[in-house]
């Protein structure tokens, strides 16, 4: 059924269609509508779930972990400061192998207080062991939540579904809300092999000496290494049922491109417009939108970049002292490989500053004028 819904409600519908059994959440701008709609759904029975109205995001994740280890499908959503407060529990969820799915609305970190978008909140959680999916449309948000549960539960690794504050969270778009019966066919109920039950008393997460700890982490990494193939496989399966495939990357006009923007989130769709305009003026441009950041889709990124002459990575984030985070990852993907193009890194759009078509044109002009990237990070649209 087609509906006009906001990005935040797309997260709620995703959780509803996935039949989340426990939702535990705390409100934070710009995520609030996610939990408002879910609390209505739980109250009127549209969703058969317990909604725990916790007193903090830290408790939200802790109770999702409790619900998950008891064998229930758990969902939460947060943003920025809330995600940062959860940090300890993000390690716990991944380390304990609890396949929780969480929506995160990308919002800049304070100070100064900002409610507008950039990616430093979620990218700061890079090494917690969560999968990270960056979405660019409300349709993709609904679809990705459903797929994320499937992949998470198969691998017993939690997953974060991420969307830009306001640019997506509060933007209304037409969304084909999947049919519940079809979603049920795609996503079976959560039946973990081991759970917390008096019928099979076990101790979870006890003191673990150096003779065992490393093996647990090795298994987490090995499971994560299976994720790229599984995301593609479940994405194709999703495509067969719903007519929309889900992948690791979303290349746009890259096949014959000389110059490619590497983007993520909604900036990826703005980049498409820039690509079309640049092509109209004679530059064979393309856009590679990276959808999945963890696990990083090294192979897919290399496949696309091997065919182009130059690539510019546009980051809506900054790892202070090291530059754009996607830029670092893309560099590591091409390192030591023959036939890879020179890469250029740009930072744009922090704290919700718009990344426009002109921003991309500025990036293209800068990159095309140079033979190799400068050591200094290039900032787009900054008042120096």
């Amino acid at each position: 059924m087609k509906k006009v819904i906001m990005g935040n409600h797309a997260l709620s519908y995703g959780a509803m269609l996935s039949r989340a059994q426990v939702v535990s959440a705390y409100p934070i701008t710009p995520q609030t509508q996610v939990v408002e709609l879910l609390s209505e759904m739980c109250a009127d029975g549209t969703l058969n779930a317990q909604f725990i109205k916790v007193e903090s995001e830290h408790s939200a994740m802790a109770s999702c972990i409790g619900a998950s280890v008891a064998g229930a499908r758990a969902f939460t959503a947060t943003s920025s400061q809330g995600l940062a407060l959860m940090h300890e529990m993000l390690h716990w969820a991944a380390g304990g192998r609890h396949p929780i799915v969480m929506g995160n609305v990308n919002r800049s970190m304070a100070p100064g207080w900002s409610i507008w978008t950039d990616q430093n909140d979620s990218l700061s959680q890079r090494d917690t062991g969560w999968m990270q999916f960056y979405c660019a449309s409300n349709q993709e948000v609904v679809d990705t939540v459903i797929q994320a549960f499937k992949v998470a539960e198969r691998l017993m690794i939690p997953a974060m579904v991420i969307l830009d504050a306001f640019a997506l969270s509060h933007t209304y778009e037409v969304v084909d809300v999947p049919d519940q019966a079809l979603v049920d066919r795609y996503l079976p109920p959560f039946k973990p092999e081991i759970k917390l039950t008096p019928a099979d008393p076990r101790a979870f997460g006890g003191l673990t000496g150096s003779e065992h700890y490393m093996e647990l982490r090795y298994k987490l990494e090995k499971a994560m290494e299976q994720a790229p193939a599984l995301i593609e496989e479940t994405g194709r399966e999703y495509g067969k049922i719903f007519g929309r495939g889900l992948g690791l990357v979303d290349p746009y006009r890259c096949d014959d491109a000389d110059f490619v923007f590497v983007t993520s989130g909604t900036a990826g769709y703005t980049a498409r417009v820039a690509v079309d305009e640049l092509r109209a003026s004679g530059l064979k441009a393309g856009n590679l939108r990276i959808k999945v950041f963890r696990p990083f889709p090294f192979d897919r990124v290399r496949e696309v970049l091997a065919k182009v002459r130059k690539a510019a990575v546009v980051d809506r984030n900054c790892s202070y002292g090291a530059g754009g985070i996607f830029y670092q990852e893309v560099k590591s993907a091409v390192y030591g490989r023959a036939g890879m193009p020179p890469l250029f890194g740009y930072i744009a759009g922090l704290g919700g500053r718009d990344i426009t078509v002109d921003s991309f044109k500025e990036v293209a002009a800068d990159a095309l004028a140079k033979d190799k990237a400068e050591e200094e990070i290039v900032w787009i649209g900054v008042k120096k």
Partner: protein, 301 residues
Amino acid sequence: MSTEVKKEKKFTMTLPADELMACGHLACQGCGATLAMRYMLKALGQKTILCIPACCWAVIDGPYPYSSMDVPIYHCAFETAASTATGVKAGLEMTGDGETTVVAWAGDGGTFDIGIQALSGAAERNEDIIYVCYDNEAYMNTGIQRSSATPYGAWTTTTPVKHFKSRPKKDIVAIMAAHRIPYIATASVAYPEDFVKKFKKAKEIKGTRFFHVYAPCPTGWKSRPEDTVKLARLAVQNGYFPLFEIENGEKTTLNLKIKDRKPVDEYLRLQARFRHLTPEQVATVQAEVDQRWERLMKGCA
């Protein structure tokens, strides 16, 4: 010659015989917290799940892949005993188990200090869990550092003798009573029958139930392991740790009436953590205990 026994001698078991805690645990000698766990499980039975944050008990049950317990345990983060237990209960109910008792089992640091936010949140929502604070009056697992449960006058490694703790212990029971949860009780390892009775009662109540359990720690209190039960008994008899319950935040009942309340002197003398106290400082301790006792008596009236 008749071999008939004139009168059959009967032994009455006052506690359930079931043991859900096995030997082989890692507690120190004379640990009050192990007695507390053993008694609680006797009362609650096998359909119990424990959520244990960082505290002595995070270690006591045994390292991975062992456990000395016959009930499942989720080792959770330090400040999350109440919030994890909340999630476990919700998860069980949503998967068809409405019967199992979910217990958050935390030390005083995890309750009075770092876990109080999650505990307050769960209590305000009246989550259907039993929260137990076994109180040994300091961060014992990390090596005896003061918590807000450490009493006035006590030595710890962060309140050295020259600068002992000058503030009274936080009144956690009053804080919990202010949440008007259905059931709050104190319990002592020196009174197992009272202990088991109250946990059995709590098991049948729905909503948040809070236990403040007094658990002497020979390692941290610098007392003799064989004095654990004696200290716990003295603390009840001198009014330092009275046995009482509060229903719905209002109805307070003293479970063990004390006729002649003992002075605190002997109780303090058996613990080297109080050795430095001058007679004036002992009088301060006594005055504080008297004041709390009077307040409790007023509450019971």
